[in-house]
Structure formats: structure tokens, C-alpha cells
């Protein structure tokens, strides 16, 4: 029986672990947090159809429970050494594992919105991120601290930390556009009297049902889309925010007062993935995301033989794409092991 160690117990790690167990291998899944699920634990509802994140998570949990593989929680990898076609993995807890293959599924981190200083996140009272809002969108949660008692106007800012030289991220995080549309609709349902605006540079509705949801946002929920990137936000005396952008389609600067500003934060490879790259001696791209052997046919292969990649450690990815990528990683590991 071959042994595969998976680094990172988010949805990619969970899905890969299940698929590899089904293929008849012994799997150890290593997760640094106290529970599996990764970033999905922080999300309430998923685009494009408002599926509760719980539902996806619970299904994946059940799938893991039904299968026999080992899970090491609150565990971090200290080193990965290659020795005679085997991988020797040591954890900070002192555990030593020998693996025939390794899957890196170390995921992403959310962009720290404080780095866009001009938007005043953590300084102005009514500036929050999409991740903060997601928690507030749970049924029964109180929106009034973030949005005030009776918010008249709310704005979303797209591409915060993405497509931005100043943030050091040239790439598109892919999921923020549709997240903005989803959250705008959810807010409108909760606060029907509020006017909601999305400030975007391009709307990238790449996935199934994304464009339809965008249209629904305009048609049924009166969400307004203004093409222009916010230059700055400033807090006024009454704690509302003065925001400035160019209405690029009119060709004139535009300012408005809003009661809540939501920053659609992008994805970064983050510390976990950088550490994984260093420990496994695998290559990464300028963006920090892990380098795959090619774009088309080998997107689960790292620069080192026997080390495979799954999910958003390779590029920003939706939940849907992550699960598919993780599943395909398991297939690649399986066929590679059979050839050994």
C-alpha cells in the first residue's frame, strides 16, 4: 500500500484525501488548524446559487468520516526530505512520516485590506471587507454595527488587492466580481431601502450562472454598477464615508456619501503556501502561487517529481474549481504511483 501525505486540510486537501483513499492508498492529511475546512469555515453562502457553505462542508466532512485515513490536526510540517524516491516528512510535533507521494494543498490567504491605506480599513468605522460581511450575512446576525441603524447607501469596491501594482499583485483573483454581486443581492434583501453600488474596473463573470446572477442583480435588485476604481475614502463627521472615483463611462470624477463600504478583497498565496514551497523545494511564480508544470495538461504537477498540487495554492480559484482541481490531483497521483 502506498502512503500519500497531503499538506493542508482545506476543501482541496479533503477532496484529494477521499479520492486517493478510494483509489486504495493510505493517506495522511495534515492541517495546521484545529478543524478541517480551511477558508470555507469563514464563508456563509456560496455564489452563484447561495448554497450554504455549511452544506458543502458537511458533505465533505461526512465523506472524510466515511473513509479510513489519518488526519493530523493542529500540526505543521517542519521539513520534507527526499530520500531514495521516498519523502520523509517531519512535523513540529516531532512526528515522522514516510510517503511515496506528497500533495500540497496549502490554499490561499485573503489580502490584508489595511495595505490599501487609502481605503481606511480598520481606521474608519464603516469600512469592512467581503470576508467580514460574509460573517454578517448569517441569518440572525446584526448588521447595524457595521452599516449603522438605517443605511441609505452602500458601496462595494472591486479588485481590492488584485490587479494592482501598489498591492504587488498583478493577477485577477477571479472570485471577487461574483462575490460582490452575490453579497450585493444578499444585502439588498436584508436592507431593501438601501441603494447599492458596485465600483468595478471590469466585471469578470466567467463561471456558470455568474452572468445570469449579475443580470438579476441589475434587474431584480436594482444594484447599480459604476465603472471606475475608488481613489480614496474619507470619514465624515457623522461617520459616513465620502468616496471618490471616476465614472469612467461619463468621463467625469464622481463623489458620493455612503454608510457602508465593502472591500472585495482578493486572494494571495500567503504564508502557508510560501512555507510549503520552501519546505518541499518546489518552484513558485512571481505572484507567489505555486508553479504548475504547464497550464493545460499538467496543472497538478509541481516542479519536483512526486509532489503534486491541488487547489488555490496554484492560483485564485472558486470552491467549485478547487474541488475539481483536487479531484484531478488525486487521479494524477494515482496514475503516477502505479507507474512507479
Amino acid at each position: 500500500m502506498k502512503h500519500i501525505v497531503i499538506i493542508g486540510g482545506g476543501i482541496a486537501g479533503m477532496e484529494s484525501a477521499c479520492a486517493l483513499t478510494d483509489a486504495g492508498h493510505w493517506v495522511t492529511l495534515i492541517e495546521k488548524e484545529a478543524q478541517l475546512g480551511g477558508k470555507l469555515n469563514q464563508w456563509s453562502f456560496l455564489f452563484p446559487d447561495f448554497t450554504p457553505a455549511e452544506k458543502i462542508k458537511d458533505t465533505l466532512f461526512d465523506k472524510c468520516q466515511e473513509r479510513d485515513f489519518s488526519i493530523l490536526l493542529k500540526t505543521e510540517v517542519k521539513s520534507v526530505q527526499t530520500h531514495q524516491k521516498k519523502f520523509n516528512i517531519e512535523t513540529f510535533g516531532g512526528q515522522k512520516l514516510e510517503a511515496d507521494a506528497v500533495v500540497v494543498s496549502s490554499g490561499y490567504e485573503l489580502f490584508d485590506a489595511r495595505r490599501k491605506e487609502e481605503y481606511g480599513y480598520k481606521i474608519y468605522d464603516h469600512v469592512i471587507t467581503s470576508a467580514d460581511l460574509e460573517k454578517l450575512l448569517r441569518p440572525g446576525s446584526d448588521l447595524s454595527v457595521a452599516a449603522g441603524k438605517n443605511p441609505k447607501r452602500i458601496a462595494f469596491v472591486h479588485c481590492v488587492g488584485s490587479r494592482d501594482e501598489k498591492s504587488g499583485n498583478h493577477y485577477c483573483s477571479k472570485v471577487c466580481c461574483i462575490t460582490g454581486v452575490k453579497q450585493a443581492i444578499e444585502l439588498k434583501k436584508r436592507l431593501p431601502e438601501a441603494e447599492i453600488f458596485c465600483f468595478y474596473m471590469d466585471l469578470r463573470m466567467y463561471g456558470k450562472h455568474f452572468e445570469e446572477l449579475y443580470r438579476e442583480a441589475q434587474e431584480k435588485f436594482d444594484i447599480q454598477f459604476i465603472r471606475g476604481r475608488l481613489s480614496e475614502a474619507a470619514e465624515k463627521m457623522d461617520k459616513s464615508l465620502l468616496i471618490k472615483a471616476e465614472d469612467t463611462l461619463s468621463g467625469r470624477p464622481l463623489k458620493m456619501n455612503v454608510d457602508l463600504l465593502v472591500l472585495l478583497v482578493g486572494m494571495e498565496a500567503g504564508k502557508g503556501t510560501a512555507t510549503a514551497a520552501a519546505k518541499c523545494s518546489i518552484e513558485y511564480e512571481d505572484s507567489g502561487f505555486l508553479k504548475t508544470n504547464d497550464t493545460f495538461l499538467f496543472s497538478n504537477f509541481s516542479s519536483q517529481e512526486g509532489i503534486f498540487l491541488a487547489g488555490s495554492c496554484t492560483a485564485p480559484m472558486s470552491v467549485n474549481d478547487t474541488i475539481l482541481h483536487a479531484r484531478s490531483a488525486a487521479m494524477e497521483v494515482n496514475s503516477w504511483l502505479r507507474k512507479q
Partner: protein
Amino acid sequence: MKDFGYTVIKQRTIDYDQFDGRLLSDVLRMEPSFKTCLSCGGCTATCSANDLVSFNIRRINLSLRRGETYELESEIQKCMLCGKCMLVCPRGINIRNVIMLIKKSILKYKSVQL
């Protein structure tokens, strides 16, 4: 008042807080398809008036949404109501009706003011 050879310049920023949305809400209520405009410019590209005079039908949406009623009133006079724009519109907006509604609504608010 003294003349120093220069003056304070009026700001051209669109101040959304000064926006009177009555005309917009009238038009959207009666022609909801107009909410879905993508600003793609297909209408303007095919417009039979645009080629002859400066008339940008795509900007009608923006003028309406930014409260630039004054500009709107003179602009829509240039439309010949041929409806070619409707053949192109990817969102199936009844643009001709939008023009008619704007004309009517402008008159309505003018008469109220009078």
C-alpha cells in the same frame, strides 16, 4: 469684489448626493428592462443619428443615472426614433420607449415646476 486675474473654478465632479432621482425612477418603473444596460455601446454604434450629429445614446443611461437632466433634454431631441438600436441591444432593452418616457417625464417635472 477684487479681480486678481484668476477665479475660483466651479467643480465638475458629479456630486451624487445632489442627485435628484425622480426622473430615473419614473423611467425605470415604466421600462424596467432599462435597468440592465451594460454600457456596451452597441446602440451608439448602429445609431443612424450618431453618424451625422454628436448624439450618444449609450450616454442617455448615464446622464439619467447621474441626474444630468439638462443635458438629457437637448440630447434626446436628436433621436429619430428609428429603433435600430433595439435590434442590436444585447439585453433587449426597449430603447425607443426609454426615449419617449424621458420626453414625457421631463415635461411632467417641468410643468410641476411651472
